[in-house]
């Protein structure tokens, strides 16, 4: 199999190629909004991007993820009007039964934003990110960068500087949205870059479920597509957010994402994260439990094959008393794919009554696959309960023989075991359509063997 990654690695035999070239995005692409806060945010981010170095294998969070093959200087951001049709099934409503409250379709297709009229009247904003900066500059300007600082690293700075695609969701105080919101972000092309920014802001007492899908055409690995993203989430006091992210990016995508949620007093965040695609992923997902009673549950799944490399870095920050976090990430790996999960529970001084849990379970389905699982605890308070667990295992031969003995062929038996392995995560996905998406993806990958 040939791919761009390998071909670049060959070139990198000369030491100089180890240094990534700067991206060739021109400064003119930075949003020159009339609104000073918005202009200032993007400008400062651009400066940070120029100033910061690319991360390297010497940086602790990047030790296991080698990005030297990224063809940084090749990418261009597609012009407006660049079109490519996603497969119809992606446009099928993922929310079965009833109409979603709102829907955004964006990326390499004609963007559209819909929102239930009565919600709009209550002050809910659910729209394309660039449009939000244009239409609600005061509000967006106030919220931008409050959760994710634009200068956290070079990729974050780039996404902050140039991110125009994406979603802005604002739910005013005490507004409860019954039906879920849905957005589909569709990328396409070769040597293209997709940079997006999701900003989800729930004022006190607000409540919503939001499903966000990122996808692109499955392409061979010959050329690369670059995705860079920021997700900023604020869950106010007593607010409830269920946020489901599914990525089924094409196999030529290199994705770098920085995501963080801040949960205030008695707020509740249910965060489900599903990863199927990309050639390489480096994702940071953090929760800050900022006030007493804040609670967050993170449920992740990944299923890799071929030469995929998915790296998820999670951080559960207990910053106040009586906060609760519960993380379960489960992954299955085929072929020569590789996953990294590195998780940290941090308990700040004085955050007594913390209840923190993290577990990462991996199922290795081939001799060449590899999963690194690195849990961590840093506890600076006295009265806490923190537990963690990490496992990497194979399919149990006795389980397999038992299923075979009932006439189930080996491949189907393995698929059954894999589905069963993911069942605890499925049970945490509140929407049947999303469960089905995931089941389809498992079936497809198991059939590719």
């Amino acid at each position: 199999m040939t791919n761009a990654n390998q071909s670049v690695v060959i070139k990198s035999s000369s030491r100089k190629r180890n240094e990534l070239a700067e991206f060739s995005f021109p400064q003119e692409m930075v949003n020159q909004s009339d609104h000073s806060q918005i202009r200032g945010y993007h400008q400062a981010a651009w400066e940070a991007y120029q100033r910061l170095p690319f991360p390297t294998l010497r940086d602790e969070p990047w030790r296991r993820t080698d990005i030297r093959g990224l063809a940084t200087d090749k990418f261009t951001i597609p012009e407006n009007g660049f079109r490519s049709d996603p497969p119809a099934r992606l446009l099928d409503p993922v929310i079965i039964g009833e109409e979603p409250s709102g829907r955004i379709v964006s990326g390499a297709l004609e963007a559209s934003c819909q929102l239930d009229e009565s919600l709009a009247q209550q002050g809910v904003i659910f729209t394309h990110f660039a449009l939000a900066e244009e239409k609600y500059p005061q509000l967006v300007g106030n919220l931008l960068g409050k959760i994710v600082a634009p200068d956290e690293d070079k990729f974050t700075a780039l996404a902050a500087a140039l991110g125009q695609d994406g979603v802005f969701l604002y739910v005013p105080k005490n507004v409860v949205i019954e039906q879920p919101l849905h957005s589909l972000y569709w990328g396409a092309g070769e040597d293209t870059a997709f940079i997006n920014h999701l900003l989800l802001w729930l004022e006190d007492g607000a409540s919503v479920t939001f499903v966000h899908e990122s996808s692109s055409a499955t392409s061979d690995d010959r050329s690369q597509v670059f995705h860079d993203g920021i997700v900023e989430i604020f869950v106010g006091q007593n607010a409830r957010l269920t946020f489901v992210e599914l990525q089924s990016w094409g196999r030529n995508v290199w994705s770098m994402t920085r995501e963080r949620a801040r949960v205030m007093g008695d707020g509740n965040l249910e965060w489900v994260f599903g990863a199927m695609g990309t050639h390489l992923t480096k994702n940071f997902s953090d929760i800050d439990l900022a006030e007493p009673g804040a609670m967050a549950r993170m449920s992740g799944f990944y299923f890799t094959n071929g030469n995929q490399h998915l790296d998820h870095d999670t951080q559960q920050n207990h910053l106040a008393e009586n906060t609760t976090s519960d993380l379960l990430y489960k992954g299955a790996l085929l072929d020569a794919s590789r996953s990294v999960w590195q998780g940290m529970i941090y308990v700040a001084p004085g955050a007594d009554g913390t209840d923190g849990y993290q577990a990462n379970r991996n199922l290795i389905l081939s001799k060449q696959a590899r999963a690194d699982s690195i849990p961590g605890l840093e506890i600076l308070a006295d009265d806490v309960r923190c537990t963690h667990g990490a496992t990497v295992g194979k399919i149990d031969e006795n389980e397999l023989f038992y299923l075979l003995s009932r006439g189930i062929p080996r491949k189907e038996a393995e698929q059954l075991i894999v589905m069963g392995f993911f069942a605890p995560i499925m049970a945490r996905i509140p929407i049947e359509g999303v469960q089905n998406r995931f089941k389809e993806a498992i079936t497809e990958k198991m059939a590719e063997r």
Binding site: L403, L404, S405, R406, G407
Partner: protein, 258 residues
């Protein structure tokens, strides 16, 4: 009438011979009991017939309908008509009893001669419920993860439920009575009795005679040191119940130590 023929079977585990020339013929409609002291190769026989990869057949043959199954993987043997009720059923996390059984039923249909379409959800539910009624099982069992957290009795009952749904030509019950109280033995046995008939041959492997009070054997075989050393009628099992296995050891064990 189809026969399960075990012909001069020799089986080794990691190079150690366990079964040393065993012969047995089971016709559909017959119930055979294989009794013997622990460590004599009874479970090895069961696993070997089912095709466990760790059991190496060094000599002899196993045939159904005249056709050798030795080159078949366990799933093919199952579809050819062999069923093994496990002594220690394995739990499969996250896979419900109903989903598992539906997959098994569909595998039989897809690879059948001629192939059939998958069973409809409605038809399968009806099938499952009727078999659960037979075994006095709650319908909620269908939604539980296979053997996960099941009591000993629930596990064995689930084995017989599978037997009922899959309706094989030959069923091997490996110590199905072990660990069960008398009520559970009765329910499990009544289930087997309701299923056995002209279309099913049954091999009951057991250490104790008591299950044979419920499942009446046509033939009783005593297994010792990897062979069947005595065959007879039900009277043989009653003799073992009264006198234990000492006389078997005395009669057939000498050759080993001499």
């Amino acid at each position: 009438m189809p026969e399960l023929i075990i012909d001069n079977l020799h089986v080794s585990i990691e190079g150690n011979p366990i079964i040393k020339g065993l012969n047995l013929t089971v016709r559909q409609g017959e119930v055979h009991a294989i009794m013997g002291p622990n460590g004599t190769g009874k479970s090895t026989l069961a696993y070997s017939i089912m095709g466990h990869p760790n059991y190496e057949i060094t000599e002899g043959d196993i045939r159904i309908d005249g056709k050798s199954v030795l080159d078949m993987a366990a799933d093919e043997r199952s579809r050819a008509g062999i069923f093994l009720a496990f002594q220690y059923p394995v739990s499969i996390p996250g896979v419900t009893v109903a989903n598992f059984l539906r997959t098994a039923v569909n595998a039989r249909r897809r690879y059948g001669e001629p192939p059939q379409e998958d069973i409809s959800v409605l038809e399968f539910r009806k099938l499952l419920k009727s078999k659960m009624d037979l075994l006095e099982m709650e319908y909620t069992f269908g939604g539980r993860y296979l053997n996960e957290g099941f009591s000993g009795g629930e596990k064995k009952r689930t084995e017989v439920l599978q037997l009922a749904v899959l309706a094989p030509a030959f069923a091997i019950l490996d110590e199905t009575d072990s660990g069960l109280d008398i009520d559970a033995i009765r329910i499990v046995s009544e289930g087997v009795n309701a299923l056995k008939g002209p279309g099913m041959g049954v091999v009951v492997i057991t250490h104790y005679q008591r299950i044979l009070n419920y499942i009446k054997p046509d033939y009783v075989h005593i297994m010792f040191d990897g062979r069947i050393v005595e065959s007879g009628s039900e009277a043989l099992s009653l003799l073992l119940e009264e006198e234990g296995y000492d006389w078997v050891r005395e009669k057939y064990g000498q050759a080993e130590t001499a």
